[in-house]
């Protein structure tokens, strides 16, 4: 059995914990073992443990990932570094506040605003949109985004993806308001530098850069 070094960036500084690697062990399992066996003060957040809720998002070996879905054996390293998600304020150890993320999320008016026609909408099957509906609002794309690192007002990939789904919903009656927010010079889609980091890290494999490109086209078409 291999011994690992788990290096955690905590509020008080970096702490290292030796840990025996067991087969199929995930990063979340490792954190639970440290918490129960070595350091009960270690703070981290999790809920579903099956990659559904997005609560356990962390910066693992310099890539934002879900701790519950990241097997340590796949990291190919005897040293595993775990830090809180970048671009978000740290509350304690590995726990971050998602408040800035949801502040941007609210700006695009995420709730469906029905059109005034009163008629029942016929929603045609849309394979592109259906692939983009799986967002679990984990904040991983927001943490990986290079633009977000230096542009605090930028909407971020997840909010833009949500806006895209609303705009392309035939029942929606607020597309123009959303497009106005998306078209803002310093915080809208035009800030995206097409680095593809958000698409590379999304645990649900949503091609967020593609979404941003589609929103740009929608703005130009409108």
């Amino acid at each position: 059995m291999n011994t690992l070094e788990i290096r955690v960036t905590r509020s008080a500084g970096i702490r290292s914990y030796p840990l025996a690697l067991s087969p199929r062990m995930t990063v979340l399992d490792a954190l639970f073992r440290i918490q129960s066996g070595q350091d009960s003060s270690l703070a981290f957040r999790c809920a579903c443990r099956v990659g559904m809720c997005g609560t356990c998002a962390m910066y693992i070996n310099r890539v934002p990932r879900l701790a519950c879905k990241t097997r340590i054996s796949t990291l190919d390293s005897t040293v595993v570094t775990i830090a809180p998600l970048p671009n978000l304020p740290v509350i304690q150890d590995l726990v971050v506040s998602l408040e800035p993320f949801f502040k941007q999320w609210k700006r695009i008016k995420p709730a469906l605003r029905g059109s005034a026609s009163g008629e029942l909408a016929i929603i045609p099957p849309d394979p592109v949109a259906s692939r983009k509906r799986d967002c679990i609002t984990c904040g991983i794309c927001y943490a990986a985004c290079g633009v977000k690192a230096t542009q605090a007002d930028y909407l971020g990939p997840a909010a833009i993806n949500k806006a895209f789904l609303r705009i392309h919903d035939p029942r929606d009656g607020a597309a123009h308001q959303r497009l106005a927010v998306l078209n803002e010079e310093w915080s809208g889609v035009w800030r995206c530098h097409t680095q593809f980091s958000c698409s590379a890290v999304c645990p649900k494999k949503i091609d967020l850069t593609d979404t941003i490109g589609r929103v740009k086209k929608s703005i130009l078409a409108s």
């Binding site: 890539v63 290079g146 690192a149 593809f196």
Partner: protein, 125 residues
Amino acid sequence: MKDLIRKYTGPFSGLLAHRIQRVTGLLLLVYLFLHVRTVYALSEGPEAFDRAVAQFRGPVFKMLEIALLGAVILHALNGVRITLIDVGAGQTRQSRLFWIGTIGLGALIFLTGAIPLFISSVLGR
């Protein structure tokens, strides 16, 4: 500063392409100033221009000239990749476009130009 470093760190091909575009862009800007300054020497007479050009005849500048060729090729090919992505043609194949279109094709074009340049300018054959 920490945020700026974070903006450019990550093991993703798209981010690497972005970094290359920025660095080569800055290098080309430096070259542009140098080029304009040298051409400006023409206004000071033929002797001044000859003096300005003579500075670039050393082997160090010849090597920099080869590096310039590399920077131009990378910047241009990555620019084509970005344009393709912007028009929606290479969105899902961006990583392949980068490794094959920018790096692979770029290396091929670079070697085609750099080898004769190195033989004639640096080795003097």
